[in-house]
């Protein structure tokens, strides 16, 4: 008696299922994912980043006239950064370029785009934010609680690349100082996307709840790419 060719199908499916499951290692605990991601970022010679704010405005000045919208730049360890910061002045969108080298910090004038050196600590400085010792990495390592693993998730921008997604709550008081008051202080829900093999952090999303005067939360999306990039960042020539 001849066996039907379809008789092999359940066995074949079972083999394929086992093979597929066997090819993908189980995800480590969320704490380990975050720790390894932090270690990777702290040990990187440099990386590119973008910080995108949506929702309620986050102001850069005490008079609440200039609000942060977006920053794109590159960080080179241990203390250099170059970025273009997009700000919203009432009725106008403008860009400010900044360079940080060690303790020195330069920014371009809103109107003339001429470089001006400012005293350290007076403005938002990405070099401080991503500093390996006490920057965002340290905040993630010590301030992130209630971690849960959300599975393998693809970002819209990177189809076909599943990433670990971890959620938790971040104590943003450390970030408050690092961002000149843009983020925090307080507890905020955080989501982190991490590459399953390299443990490079692809994205961090921090959602700050709406304040009394705000109608919507402030959402910070921080993206990273090109880990290991070491670009030459020199003081600008005024």
């Amino acid at each position: 008696m001849r066996r039907s060719p379809l008789g092999w199908l359940p066995a074949l499916l079972a083999v394929l299922l086992v093979a597929c499951r066997g090819g993908q290692a189980p995800a480590p605990p969320p704490e380990e994912i975050v720790n390894r991601a932090v270690e990777m970022m702290s040990g990187a010679a440099g990386f590119h980043f973008s910080i995108d704010r949506s929702g309620a405005p986050a102001f850069l000045d005490a008079n609440e006239t200039i609000s942060f919208r977006r920053a794109d730049g590159v960080y080179v360890a241990p203390d250099k950064a170059r970025a273009t910061v997009r700000v919203i002045v009432p009725g106008i969108i403008a860009e400010v370029s900044m360079v940080a080298v060690g303790d020195r910090y330069w920014e371009t004038n809103l109107l003339t785009r001429e470089w001006v050196e400012l005293p350290a600590g007076q403005a938002f400085n990405p070099a401080d934010l991503f500093s390996a010792g006490d920057g965002l990495q340290a905040a993630l390592k010590t301030g992130l609680t209630g971690l849960t693993y959300g599975g393998m998730v693809e970002l819209e921008e990177l189809p076909g690349l599943p990433l670990y997604q971890v959620s938790g709550t971040l104590d943003t008081s450390q970030l408050f100082g690092l961002t000149s008051g843009l983020i925090g202080p307080g507890a905020a829900p955080v989501q982190v996307w991490v590459h399953p093999e390299t443990f490079e952090t692809y994205r961090i999303v921090i959602t700050e709840s709406a304040g009394a005067a705000e109608l919507e939360p402030t959402v910070w999306q921080v993206d990273f790419w090109q880990f290991g990039a070491t670009e030459s960042i020199d003081p600008p020539i005024p």
């Binding site: 919208r69 009725g91 003339t112 785009r113 001429e114 001006v116 790419w225």
Partner: protein, 515 residues
């Protein structure tokens, strides 16, 4: 038969009006669009100007050859295709920062790395969509004129052709006001959404008319090389004059590639003229330019278009910089204030044409020129404190001047063309004015940004705070607007030379020395 022709003229005119409306509709709402798309003022202003320039450019380019294309492929067919392109462009403009921008961004993610600036993708999509829209809108004018030319017998075409030219002018005359009013109550995208039902109804009606009338194709060849050369010349000229300079880029006036592009434009234009003289079915009958009146009036038309559009672009810029508290108010105020320029212009065209018919072209055109230059010179004195009440007489003077000026110029061009070329001549009136407008807005945007850079660097003290930056920036913007008004006045005054060459043409078509 007469009623059917009149009905068809009305149906064809409506999309032409909407297409022309969109020429100037963004001048009042541009600051709103720039803010909404988050275009940074320093690096993106030059790109954002292409929302206006790109439309003018594609509109002019389409006008140069789509009429000829309709000779070969059928008037209704090409008109309907142009209408569909305009509608598709309108839709794409309305959704430019949504799925089309995301689609482009996805394409970038496949090949590129990092997180590019999404607002620049949205802006580029918007500019591309505006150019698609303009191509359709511009094509409708010569094809519509040719269609009407086919419907009316020789000797009865001047009036309907004049109506289409007037409808086109009326569209861009009220475009800014329409935009300003709509933005007061709706999102700026509504301007473009509203085009769609108008286009759909017009499409159905014209499609039905086409089925009744049938299509006549004419023998001949499409002047592909001529089309490429004139389109290339216009694109290269505007790209050379109007791109690449960013606010805060120091004292550099033009990027290094500007001069080669302008040279390429001149060479392509020279090549176009040589080619057209040899080609049996040329796009443009160059013999028309042998007529003194035709050549002189076309030159004056170019210069008038240049200076007129500077006024149309500068008024919203001035109001948004100096007096508007919100973007909505800026669009609203700009729309109404520009009406003080454009409505008198439209009204003054009537006596301008009447005087030209009675006294010849030269007297009314010189009278109009004097008033337009006087108005523009008065605008150079606008300051931060200048009120709308003080601005109004200046705008009225310039508007009346331009109105009296453009009517005899247009009449001189059309009257000097033989009956067989009246349609082409009517289209050329619009083309020369549009090319003048395009060159004006692109070159003076570049000049304005350059002067902003130079004056800001000179006047802003180091370590200035935000209040000082805003105050200095506002004064610099006002001074630069004044400078560009002065340039517009000088360019307008240059029209004196060709206008003095105009000669009187009597009803029989004979030329007499003008008095």
């Amino acid at each position: 038969m007469i009623a059917r022709r009149t009905l068809l003229l009305a149906i064809i005119s409506i999309p032409i009006f909407v297409g022309a409306l969109d020429l100037t509709v963004v001048s009042a709402v541009l600051p709103h669009v720039i803010y909404d798309l988050e275009i940074p003022i320093q690096t993106g202003l030059d790109d954002a100007a292409w929302i206006v320039t790109g439309y003018l450019l594609a509109y002019s380019v389409a006008m140069t050859f789509m009429g000829r294309l309709s000779d070969l492929y059928g008037r209704f067919r090409v008109y309907l295709a142009a209408l569909a392109i305009f509608a598709a462009g309108s839709y794409l403009v309305a959704v430019a920062d949504q799925w089309p921008a995301r689609l482009l961004l996805r394409g970038y993610y496949v090949f590129g790395e990092g997180r590019p600036d999404q607002s620049l993708f949205a802006l580029r999509t918007l500019i591309g969509a505006r150019m698609i829209q303009a191509f359709g809108g511009g094509a409708m004018v010569p094809v519509g004129m040719a269609l009407i030319g086919d419907l009316y017998p020789a000797g009865h075409r001047a009036r309907p052709l004049g109506i289409i030219a007037a409808v086109d002018t009326a569209g861009w005359v009220v475009g800014h006001l329409y935009g300003g009013i709509l933005v007061r109550f709706f999102d700026w995208r509504m301007i473009f959404w509203l085009n769609l039902p108008v286009c759909l109804i017009a499409f159905i009606l014209i499609f039905a008319a086409a089925r009744v009338s049938g299509e006549a194709r004419r023998p001949g060849r499409m002047d592909a090389w001529g089309t490429l050369m004139i389109s290339g010349a216009l694109v290269a000229l505007n790209a050379g004059l109007g791109t690449g300079v960013e606010a805060g880029a120091g004292s550099q006036l033009l990027p290094p590639y500007a001069a080669p592009l302008v040279i390429a434009a001149v060479m392509l234009f020279a090549g176009f003229i040589i080619w057209e003289r040899r080609f049996t079915d040329p796009l443009m009958p160059l013999t028309l330019f042998r007529q003194r009146n035709f050549a002189a009036a076309s030159a004056a038309n170019f210069l008038t278009g240049f200076s007129l559009f500077v006024a149309i672009a500068n008024v919203p810029l001035f109001i948004n910089t100096v007096s508007a508290q919100t973007l909505e108010q800026g669009a609203w105020d700009s729309g109404w204030m520009l009406s003080a320029l454009t409505v008198p212009m439209a009204l003054a065209a009537v006596p301008g044409g009447y005087i030209a018919a009675k006294m010849g072209y030269r007297f009314p055109s010189l009278l109009g020129l004097a008033a337009a230059v006087t108005g523009l010179l008065a605008m150079t004195r606008w300051e931060i404190e200048t009120s709308y009440f003080q601005m109004t007489p200046h705008l009225l003077t310039a508007g009346i001047g331009f109105g009296i000026l453009i009517a005899p110029i247009a009449a001189a061009v059309v009257d000097s063309a033989p009956e067989s070329h009246r349609g082409t001549a009517s289209a050329l009136v619009i083309i020369f004015r549009l090319v003048g407008m395009t060159v004006g807005v692109s070159s003076l945007t570049t000049y304005g940004v350059h002067r902003m850079n130079v004056l800001s660097a000179e006047r802003l003290p180091s370590g200035a705070d935000l209040v000082e930056i805003v105050q200095v920036g506002m004064q610099v913007a006002v001074d630069v607007v004044g400078e560009t008004f002065l340039i517009a006045a000088v360019v307008c005054a240059l029209a004196l030379a060709p206008l003095l060459l105009l000669r009187r043409l009597d009803v029989s078509g004979e030329i007499h020395g003008d008095t």
